[in-house]
């Protein structure tokens, strides 16, 4: 219990933690919180400003049209009458999922490459260093646009492309850590107890690299969320009908002057989430930094 408590003590980290928790809770409880469907189009309620109500027409029943007011569009509607707040709420699911999965995949893959190359050296190290150099020599956005064009977009493709862009960070950090840890006394002691290579790598060495991985992970999650939004904004990311913050930005671009809320609201959501993750990561780094430890 010591760990979460010390995270809570610093006001910055606390803010980050609260923002992050808020976004996560919203994402989890999306169906309960969203007042409208995030994908239903309502031509009668196009471009409604925030705090206005749409009209629910019952024309299809054949009876004379009875115009009753619908629930409040707290943040207005977009160009095809979808509720911005509802899309925002559902969009948080997507942003968090994409960010989290991208970080998970890149962290696992990067750490694996980094630890193997750090531990074995030789040709393993040479080939992974080559791989890293190749990866770094491509401008990421170009690579992402190219790959997404080839793969045809979609959530999974976006996740994979984001992971591709960030695994190098983990590989480099883990490799440096492993290089110093593999000469520690306890690794030698583990050898002396008869532990095999894999056991030493996974039981004795990798847990020691966990804190830098966590820190890099939290920062690259913020970056992944931002990049996903960017890619969707550019139109190469997610399918435009998917409620994602990036696609919403893209949708609202044409109406910036007439209906500012369409693009502004997802922008704020992205800002809040990225801020939360970053503050949290900053706190995590302070906490896990060996110099500040104990």
């Amino acid at each position: 219990m010591k760990f979460p408590m010390s995270l809570y003590r610093s006001p910055q980290t606390r803010t980050g933690l609260i923002l992050l928790t808020f976004v996560v809770v919203v994402a989890l409880a999306a169906p309960l919180l969203a007042p409208f469907s995030p994908v239903n189009v309502d031509p009668s309620a196009r471009l409604l400003p925030p705090l206005s109500r749409g009209l629910a027409s019952s024309a299809q029943s054949g009876a004379p049209a009875v115009h009753a007011e619908t629930a409040l569009h707290l943040l207005g509607t977009d160009s095809v009458g979808r509720d911005v707040l509802s899309r925002l709420i559902y969009g948080s699911r997507l942003s968090l999922t994409v960010g989290f999965l991208a970080v998970l995949i890149s962290a696992v893959f990067g750490s694996l490459v980094g630890s193997l190359s750090g531990y074995w050296g030789g040709w393993v190290e040479a080939s992974s260093a080559w791989l890293i150099d190749v990866q770094l020599s491509f401008p990421f956005l170009l690579l992402a646009i190219f790959l997404l064009g080839a793969l045809g977009g979609g959530t999974l493709a976006v996740v994979l492309v984001l992971a591709l862009g960030t695994w190098v960070n983990y590989a480099r950090i883990v490799r440096a850590q492993v290089l110093s840890i593999k000469n520690q006394g306890y690794v030698e002691a583990a050898h002396a107890t008869g532990a095999g290579t894999l056991r030493i790598l996974f039981v004795h060495i990798l847990p020691n690299t966990l804190s830098p991985i966590c820190v890099v992970g939290s920062f690259s999650m913020a970056l992944a969320i931002l990049t996903e939004a960017g890619l969707s904004f550019l139109g190469v990311g997610l399918d435009p009908s998917t409620p994602s913050w990036g696609t919403m930005l893209n949708d609202g671009r044409d109406y910036l002057l007439t209906a500012w809320w369409i693009a502004t609201m997802p922008g704020i959501a992205i800002g809040v989430t990225v801020l939360g993750v970053t503050l949290f990561g900053e706190g995590l780094r302070e906490l896990l930094d060996p110099r500040g430890l104990r």
């Binding site: 006394g185 306890y186 002691a189 107890t193 008869g194 847990p207 020691n208 966990l210």
Partner: protein, 329 residues
């Protein structure tokens, strides 16, 4: 098959490629009998630790160890398959390292580190391993094992940490325990406790123990036999009683002189001669530059180990012609 649990002959260790070979251990031979406590003594860099590590093939990369024979209980340690080697490490021969601070993984609980060894060698279930870990901590004198198992190394004092590493070494139920300067990094008041603990465990479990140390006074108390190493060679190998009563090799005498107040001044003075680039591979007796009795022969030809009086071996030219001051003189 000999009765000795460990029988090493002609062990040499060198570093570097063929071009820049640096010999650090030369032609080391010794035997350890079952249940015996062998002390290996020598100053820093004399090859004590390397000799021990080489037996478990734990030498750093780039080191090359060769031996005419390195037999543990009839098996040749230098020709074991990797799988068999992993079964010897920890299971048959365990090591207690010098610095308990670095020998424990800071991010794993003590319990995890001990059960790790148990699960590795006995494929114990989690509950069995835990129960055994509690027993092990109890046997090394750590109070409140269930609580301690959940703690991390930094929550232990130096002496307690060394007890933990001893418990880890014993987890594989080894027959030979190599204690590599187990007390050097510890507080003087704790040293005696650790030594007594290892001695008690040796008695209770019938362990064979090799003590690697530079503390001759310690060996006088605990060792059955003492191997004196200098610059990568064995210079004297004698039963502890004989060595301390009548050391044969000038270096052994110097060592003893450094801890004994009744030794002649001449021997004590020799202990302060600095060690000048003692190259174990060079010609001549490696101790010659510091030896008060060195002569021409010593500087040109390296003396070989010879048996004196049945159970003592020493490598010194002076012992042959009797010109050296005899033990009693």
């Amino acid at each position: 098959m000999s009765a000795s649990i460990l029988d090493v002959e002609g062990l040499s260790i060198s570093f570097g490629g063929p071009a820049r070979r640096k010999q650090v251990v030369t032609d080391v031979s010794f035997k350890v009998e079952r249940g015996e406590a062998l002390g290996i003594v020598g100053e820093s860099g004399s090859g004590k630790t390397l000799t021990m590590l080489s037996l478990l093939r734990l030498l750093p990369r780039g080191a090359d160890a060769r031996a005419v024979r390195a037999s543990f209980d009839g098996r040749d340690l230098f020709s074991l398959t990797p799988a068999a080697l992993h079964n010897v490490r920890g299971r048959e021969i365990a090591v207690v390292f010098q610095d308990p601070l670095t020998a424990l993984n800071p991010v794993l609980t003590i319990g995890r580190q001990i059960t790790e060894v148990l699960r590795l060698h006995f494929r114990s279930s989690a509950t069995d391993a835990r129960r055994r870990a509690v027993e092990l901590l109890t046997s090394v004198g750590i109070p409140d094992p269930p609580l301690r198992l959940r703690q991390y190394p930094h929550e232990f004092s130096g002496g307690m940490r060394q007890r933990v590493t001893i418990a880890m070494a014993l987890a594989g139920e080894p027959r030979l325990l190599i204690a590599d300067e187990p007390t050097t990094a510890l507080d003087v008041t704790v040293q005696a406790d650790i030594v007594t603990l290892i001695q008690r465990l040796q008695r209770e479990k019938g362990l064979t123990v090799i003590w690697v140390t530079h503390d001759l006074a310690l060996l006088a108390r605990i060792a059955d036999r003492v191997l004196v190493m200098y610059a990568g060679r064995v210079v004297e190998d004698a039963p502890a009683g004989k060595l301390f009563a009548a050391p044969k090799h000038p270096y052994a005498r110097t060592l003893l002189g450094s801890i004994r107040q009744d030794a002649p001044k001449r021997n004590r003075a020799a202990s302060s001669i600095p060690l000048t680039a003692a190259d174990a591979g060079a010609a001549g007796c490696p101790f010659a530059p510091r030896c008060a009795e060195a002569r021409e022969q010593c500087r040109n030809v390296s003396p070989v180990l010879k048996v004196y009086g049945g159970d003592t071996r020493a490598a010194c030219w002076a012992l042959d012609d009797g010109s050296t001051r005899g033990p009693g003189s």
